[in-house]
């Protein structure tokens, strides 16, 4: 335990003292603030939204607009968090966790100390997760403060609950990317290789997954020239299922349901259609219903994270560490 805490404190201090950590932190803050406050950021759209008459109780979640509304030219804060910020932070914190210590010869010195070997990998993982948590806390608080100040809306208790959940889910999501990066840092000796592999996976999921999903859908459920409703539904169904192989999509769906309870994702609509035959169920979901909807998403992200970490853990524990 003492070994774990020593490694944890050192890694945490490293994350915040190194240029890498500082630059990462500044980037995250700047992008987040810019997404909301920037010249073509979300604020104008939010004002317009707030002026439209309240429909189906949309206005009840006005504070959350800050996080989910896209600006004129800029995507929403949520989009940045989902696609870029959290994955990049997780990847950058983990991509050289183990192999850089192997290459610099510090790992054999570290393992010659009276600590259990897993203290090293656990301590590093924990320090990464806590760093992600600190960054997310700061970011969410700053964006909230801006909203508070500029728009003059205070969050309701329901909104606070949703934000807390969003915070927790985002940390889990960050842990997934951290785990992925650490997995490659255990397997590949070269930092460049592990970095490229992790970034490659991120790029595939981030940019090419939707393409791959619609391609799959068109092969598995081809549509005619004038598609009928069942054809269309089948195609969309396959497309959604395929794209859910991407953790980015899973997290995106989950957080959209969490933070924009009045809107419906395509997946939700399909689910509703199959369940009740209804096309459209007006009104925001309650918190309980929201959790029920996103529960499978969270379970999958959590399970994937645990799996990735377990593989790295086992490999690291069995590996022979030589200094040459």
């Amino acid at each position: 335990m003492q070994g774990l805490m020593t490694v944890f404190y050192k890694e945490l201090a490293d994350h915040f003292n190194s240029w890498r950590g500082i630059i990462l932190f500044i980037t995250v803050l700047l992008v987040s603030v810019f997404a909301v406050l920037g010249p073509s950021g979300a604020l104008a759209s939010i004002r317009a939204q707030l002026e439209t008459p309240v429909q189906y109780g949309f206005g009840r979640f006005a504070f959350l607009y800050l996080f989910t509304t896209a600006g004129e030219d800029l995507p929403s804060f949520l989009w940045f968090i989902t696609r870029f910020l959290v994955p990049i932070v997780g990847i950058v914190l983990g991509l050289d966790a183990i192999n850089s210590e192997k290459n610099s010869g510090t790992l054999s010195r570290l393992l010659a100390q009276p600590i259990y070997r897993d203290a090293v990998i656990n301590g590093k993982f924990l320090a990464g997760v806590v760093t992600i948590a600190i960054m997310l806390t700061t970011t969410i608080l700053i964006v909230s403060a801006i909203g508070f100040n500029v728009l003059g809306i205070a969050p309701s208790s329901g909104e606070i609950a949703r934000l807390l959940l969003f915070w927790g889910v985002s940390i889990l999501y960050g842990a997934f990317w951290l785990g992925l990066a650490m997995l490659f840092s255990v397997y590949f000796r070269s930092v460049a290789t592990s970095a490229i592999s992790t970034l490659g996976i991120w790029m595939f999921f981030s940019f090419f997954m939707s393409m791959a999903a619609s391609l799959t859908a068109n092969v598995l459920a081809p549509m005619s020239q004038t598609p009928t409703t069942p054809e269309l539904l089948k195609n969309i169904g396959v497309q959604i299922t395929a794209s859910r192989f991407s953790p980015i999509m899973l997290f995106g769906e989950a957080t959209t349901v969490l933070l924009a309870p009045g809107e419906r994702t395509a997946g939700e609509m399909l689910q509703l259609y199959h369940a009740s035959g209804a096309r459209w169920m007006p009104g925001p979901l309650t918190l309980g219903q929201t959790l029920l909807t996103i529960w499978p998403h969270l379970a999958i992200i959590g399970g994937l994270t645990a799996l990735l970490f377990a593989i790295s853990y086992i490999r690291f524990m069995r590996e022979e560490i030589r200094s040459t």
Binding site: A112, Q113, P114, I115, R322, S323
Partner: protein, 315 residues
């Protein structure tokens, strides 16, 4: 002369390590006693580092056991690592952090209380002469300084045994001698048992009292350094071979009379002379004085080096 039996610090029994089908360490029986400075010699790839990894419990032996101070290295690695300091061959430090922070990290990993951490770090840096650069980043250090820092790194935990894997690699000749003398001094002052791996014979001869030579995973010689010199290696004596145009018993006699000559053998027109020192000049003079005709003179120096070279060539 008889001393009480010293405590056994390192003991391996039939220690064996196979990688796939190649045997890297083959039924190694190693014994190191308290207070020894044990020179672990061997060419590259002889299995020295693998042996060390097994001693520290960093890799599991295929068969056999290793004990340090009675603790089983495979089953109780934490106890072993608490009393053993290890400097790996390519020792590394966190380059962005200061020398004292690097050492403090080691101290904390060893569970030292915080007030002791600073004290120990200061003392250790003092011993290796790095106090003036304690607050400098290790990235700015030269290779020699890093090696000294590595010694300080093991002093921080005050081990009973120190295992140094090529502690002098990459240092200039002057630095090597300083380093070796420093290791010997520390060992003496703190009564620390030291195992030093090297493939540089003269380094081992300088400070070690016992040596073991590992070739292809097997211990080919092992023992006290001076004993090895006397017994196995031609008595540390010199053999001089001379060729004469004509050999007479008179000439043989006059060579035998030279002080320091142990024996003279005659085979044809060759004389094989065994002596304590290099007596070539005196022998030549004696032969010339006795009107002998000296055709050729060769000297064979027997030392640990010959055996070492012989095995190295084979390896």
């Amino acid at each position: 002369m008889s001393k009480l039996a010293k405590q056994l610090v390192v003991q391996t029994v039939d220690l064996t390590k196979n990688y796939d089908k190649t045997t890297v360490v083959d039924r190694l029986n190693l014994r190191v006693e308290e207070g020894d400075i044990f020179g672990f010699l061997g060419p590259n790839g002889a299995g020295k580092t693998t042996t060390i990894l097994m001693l520290l419990g960093l890799t599991e032996p295929t068969s056999g056991t290793a004990h340090i101070y009675g603790y089983n290295s495979t089953r109780e690695p934490l106890k072993v690592k608490r009393i053993t300091g290890y400097v790996p061959e390519k020792v590394g430090f966190y380059e962005d952090l200061t020398a004292s922070y690097n050492l403090a990290y080691t101290a904390r990993l060893n569970g030292l209380p915080e007030e002791l951490v600073i004290k120990r770090v200061g003392e250790s840096l003092d011993i290796v002469g790095l106090s003036p650069v304690a607050e400098q980043k290790v990235g700015e250090f030269s290779r020699g300084m890093k090696q000294r820092l590595a010694i300080a790194d093991i002093l921080v935990k005050m081990p009973k045994v120190a295992i140094l894997d090529e502690p002098t690699s990459g240092i200039d000749p002057e630095g090597i001698i300083q380093m070796l003398d420093m290791i010997a001094e520390i060992a003496k002052e703190r009564n620390m048992t030291i195992i030093m791996c090297s493939h540089q014979l003269y380094q081992v001869q300088r400070i070690c009292n016992r040596v073991g030579m590992l070739v292809n995973g097997k211990l080919v010689i092992e023992g006290l350094l001076d004993q090895l010199g006397r017994e196995a290696l031609g008595g540390g004596r010199l053999r001089i071979e001379i060729k004469l145009a004509e050999t007479t018993s008179k000439l043989v006699d006059c060579v035998k009379r030279i002080k320091g000559v142990v024996s003279v053998e005659r085979s044809g027109d060759l004389l094989l002379i065994t002596c304590q020192d290099d007596l070539r000049a005196k022998i030549a003079k004696a032969i010339v004085d006795a009107n002998g005709l000296l055709v050729e003179m060769k000297i064979q120096k027997y030392a640990l080096e010959d055996i070492y070279r012989k095995y190295f060539r084979e390896a």
